[in-house]
Symmetry: C2
Subunit: 334 residues, 2 copies
């Protein structure tokens, strides 16, 4: 059906070896021979058979992009940005194969032959086994978005501690002194990091946060709502609340409105994640944005570096988050 190097060879009156070399721009072949062959290839609309190439070169030209799950729980914006970021660096050098980890019944088919490298956008501790499997098989790997301590694995993620620090600092700089915290789900590393950053900011500015200004949370709407309820029932209320994610912030805002108060006029609220809806709720939410697209770009870039230079660099890279200031924080003039 489609032309092969042998067809070209016949027309050019050379061996298929020469054609192969010419099309790969080998220095062994005379320049004019190359040119002649290139022209014939063009005329025949020749495209190399990548399956054959793969077989002999032992490369697949495939890059795996695996998400914890495709079916549920991954936010659309997150997903989109991750694919965009990776795609922007690989362009036409590799094919991007998108998969959900939970679609695998067995990791058996994940081999060095079928993937030149793999990018895991990890959103759960359950991804441990697949990470280990891939590392064991010796496939170049980068894990994004979640800290991971398997040795020999590249790891790129956002510096959430720093992001939370900035959010806290911002509140202080806006004149707030009575600042409360709604924590993330216990056991999640992100929850710990965000809390740590917040605490560090408070310490740094010499602000003490009483125990009554700290409430646990579960990263969901309801727990944010409940926590804010508690704060509102205090004799001395906080003037600002830092919520460890946007969803809890939304719940918190709802609680404020239900109490007949206003955000940000009566209480300021800051979230974390810059979820898609953050810009559209009322008031638009001031929040911390994780640079997902940048993370995936950086991750893809370093992975390609490892693949193409046959290195095995294995550091952990932290990228800075960005504070997105919208309308949910009120400056307080002393």
């Amino acid at each position: 059906m489609s032309a092969t190097i042998k067809d070209i060879a016949k027309l050019a009156g050379v061996s298929h070896t020469t054609v192969s070399r010419a099309l790969n721009n080998s220095p062994l072949i005379q320049e004019e021979t190359k040119e002649r062959i290139r022209i014939i290839a063009e005329q025949l609309d020749y495209t190399p058979n990548y399956n054959a190439k793969s077989l002999v070169l032992d490369r697949s030209y495939n890059l795996g992009l695996f998400f914890t799950t495709l079916s549920n729980g991954t936010s659309a914006g997150f997903f989109y940005e991750a694919i965009r970021g990776v795609n922007s660096v690989i362009r036409d050098r590799y094919q991007l194969i998108v998969k959900g980890i939970d679609d695998y019944t067995s990791f058996h088919s994940i081999t060095k032959k079928s993937f030149d490298g793999i990018i895991i956008v990890s959103q759960s501790d359950d991804d441990g086994p697949i990470i280990e499997h891939i590392a064991n098989k010796g496939i170049p790997l980068v894990v994004l978005n979640r800290p991971v301590d398997t040795p020999g694995v590249l790891n790129v993620l956002s510096d959430e501690e720093q992001g939370a620090f900035h959010a806290g600092a911002f509140l202080v700089n806006q004149g707030h002194k009575k600042i409360a915290l709604i924590e993330g789900r216990k056991g999640f590393k992100s929850a710990q990091n965000r809390k740590d950053g917040f605490e560090r900011a408070m310490e740094h500015y010499g602000i003490t946060v009483p125990d009554s200004f700290r409430m646990p949370g579960l990263y969901d709407l309801e727990s944010g709502h409940k926590a804010m309820g508690q704060f509102l029932s205090l004799e001395e209320r906080p003037t600002a609340v830092f919520c460890c994610n946007d969803e809890m912030a939304l719940g918190a805002i709802k609680a404020v409105f239900e109490a007949g108060l206003q955000v940000p006029k009566d209480i300021s609220v800051v979230g974390f994640d810059d979820t898609v809806f953050a810009a559209y709720v009322t008031p638009a939410l001031t929040t911390v944005r994780r640079p997902i697209e940048q993370i995936s770009e950086e991750g893809a870039l370093r992975l390609l570096g490892n693949i193409e230079n046959k290195l095995n660099e294995t550091e952990q890279v932290l990228l800075r988050t960005e504070l997105i200031v919208r309308e949910s924080v009120q400056p307080l003039h002393a």
Copy 2:
């Protein structure tokens, strides 16, 4: 490195052909021989080399999922749902290769050898050339989301005319009689379909829409804002406005608020698309949802049918939209 059928053959004391047949469960091989070979394969942790398989079987096990663009303009939710839908159908039978059409500098590398089939989620008329290229190459193809008249191409999309009809009918059923229309961008087929559906609903219920109740639009925030401005300046205002997409609806709502009026109390608004933010704006937008996930499922299913049965069914499938009722429409009691 990794085991091949020849390694298995040696251990089993048979020829590699027998191993190949055994592992492919050929009826030619004795059941006990099969079992013996399977056990050895298991022990060696054998995985077939798909590149070799592909070469001889002339199949790639790859399915292309192409979007008009990845870099810009595709909405995240749309993107996510499309991938989910397709992914749920193919599972482990194929690898899903995600690409942006605008990343291709040449379609040259898109061949029958590298893709067993291709799904195009089309969002622009500019996709014409690639569709034709793929159809010419004889690669099984389905185009989603946008009507396409290239012969020999499967086409699955939502019935927007019907969706707009329902939206219009809903307004009438809520008691509205003075209903206005903000049209989509001229020249877009979707604009025509949505308008047609709306008109049909008005006719069906015997409601006349004066010319002053019709404004052109560009599918963007600003044109929606401007059009609503016009309606508000009329002596006799409409009580409800159907906007041909959500973004214009948003602009329209903004105009209402700026005029000191309320949605839906003073004017009801309906959108189209169920964009991600539709649920989060205030008031939450009543709108028409296109079943993207269902479209991509249906499309993938039919594509696989064509691939695996070597058919070339080539019909156009219209799927029903769904009216999502939220808070932007007020029932009007006569």
